[in-house]
Assembly symmetry: none
Homo-oligomer: 220 residues x 2
DNA sequence: GGGAGGCGTCAAGACCACGTCAGAATCGGC
DNA sequence: GCCGATTCTGACGTGGTCTTGACGCCTCCC
């Protein structure tokens, strides 16, 4: 929730919290990008009239590394503003003053959509282990394998893109945040840990394959 | 495009066609559901005030079997209508009168979203091998061929421009960077490697063809 | 017939990326 | 405030990749 008007932030926070949403707030664009990188929200509600940076800049900054739904709030009814924001990557545009129930409905729609997009085949099986994406569990020989949050984050992205090469940048940005895009060393360390826990022969991985210089691939 | 007012249908059809969209129209809910099932549209623009069935019914009828983006048009500004439509499964809600450029922007946003969700796989096939551009994979006789990053970079550009001549300058600049625009030797070395890995007769290439003095061409 | 330029081939050295390990720093729960 | 779990950081050996040079072939032009 990004807005520089305290009363709007307050009203939204109360309404959203009451409905079971966890709310992170930021009052300017810089703080918003930082909070998004750290908090990994499921949805962003963004006011366009921020004190420090232009709203479309914030959208671009987010879209560089995440496809989280963005709902833009704005007092400007001018259609060029709407077009700019939407083309920059926003998902929806609501003009102030807005009805709380409408915003909530649009929020539900945005969340529902991204949930559907993620919802494909919740279980991924290989010859050696099973990944349950919905339950966030990994089974090996029938017994559950414990993964740390970071390990799971990596495995989840790879499993969702099974068969496809996932670039190092993408993994780093989605697990650690956009400012870690070059810390490829992290990947080596955590891939080694995942292999030790999941691969039959960790030093000759069959499922978590490295493509040198490019990224990693989850092979079934 | 579902609406019972001919002038709106007409205006939208003209605008959308001019921008390269193919447009299917229906003037009531029953026809809309039929047309959607047959035409498999990429996006539905739906007016709520239809003569035969209620708008939310149409949404529900679509959502029963497809997750195609639905943009609702309506003259009703009442917020309960919006909430109902969005909660029924609509993706966006635009009130009449609306600006054409805004609607187009919302259309683009909806299409963009569903394109990301599908993650379309672009595959290029030849008689000898298959290039999967999304997965970054090359298959030859069913087995995967390992390519280095530079080899892949070259092949990707050639495959994306299949059938067309790609200039040496362009290849060098896009793979190695602008300062390497004259290092044609690199091309010879790497084209030879690609041919050795992919061509049935590397010394008589059928798919990775040299156009002397000009560049290279990917033939299917 | 000879030369020049473009091309293909091969091989070797420099260099970079990867995997691995272990210790330090940090986080989170009690 | 402590302790275990987790994450971060550094050093090292290794293998693969990129670069570079040498050489021979071909075609086109003189």
């Amino acid at each position: 929730m990004v807005d520089d008007e305290p009363q709007i932030v307050r009203a939204l926070r109360i309404n959203l919290s009451a409905r079971g949403y966890a709310v992170l707030t930021a009052h300017d664009g810089t703080a918003a990008l930082k909070a998004a990188a750290e908090g990994k929200p499921d949805v962003v509600v963004l006011d366009l009239g921020l004190p420090d940076v232009d709203g479309t800049e914030v959208i671009a900054g987010l879209r560089g590394w995440t496809s989280v739904p963005i709902i833009v709030l704005s007092a400007r009814t001018d259609s060029t503003d709407k077009v700019e924001a939407l083309d920059a990557g926003a998902d929806d545009y609501v003009t102030k003053p807005f009805g709380m129930d409408e915003l909530l409905a649009r929020l539900r729609a945005a969340v529902r959509r991204s949930a559907v997009a993620e919802g494909e085949d919740a279980v991924v099986q290989t010859a050696s282990f099973t990944v349950d994406l919905a339950a966030k569990k990994v089974l090996r020989d029938g017994v559950e394998v414990h993964l740390t949050p970071t390990e799971w984050g990596l495995l989840e992205i790879l499993a969702r893109n099974r068969g496809r090469l996932v670039a190092q940048r993408q993994l780093l940005q989605e697990v650690w945040g956009p400012q870690y895009a070059k810390e490829t060393h992290y990947l080596r360390v955590y891939l080694a840990q995942l292999r030790r826990k999941l691969e039959p022969e960790p030093s000759h991985p069959r499922h978590l394959v490295t493509e040198p210089g490019m990224g990693y691939r989850f092979e079934l």
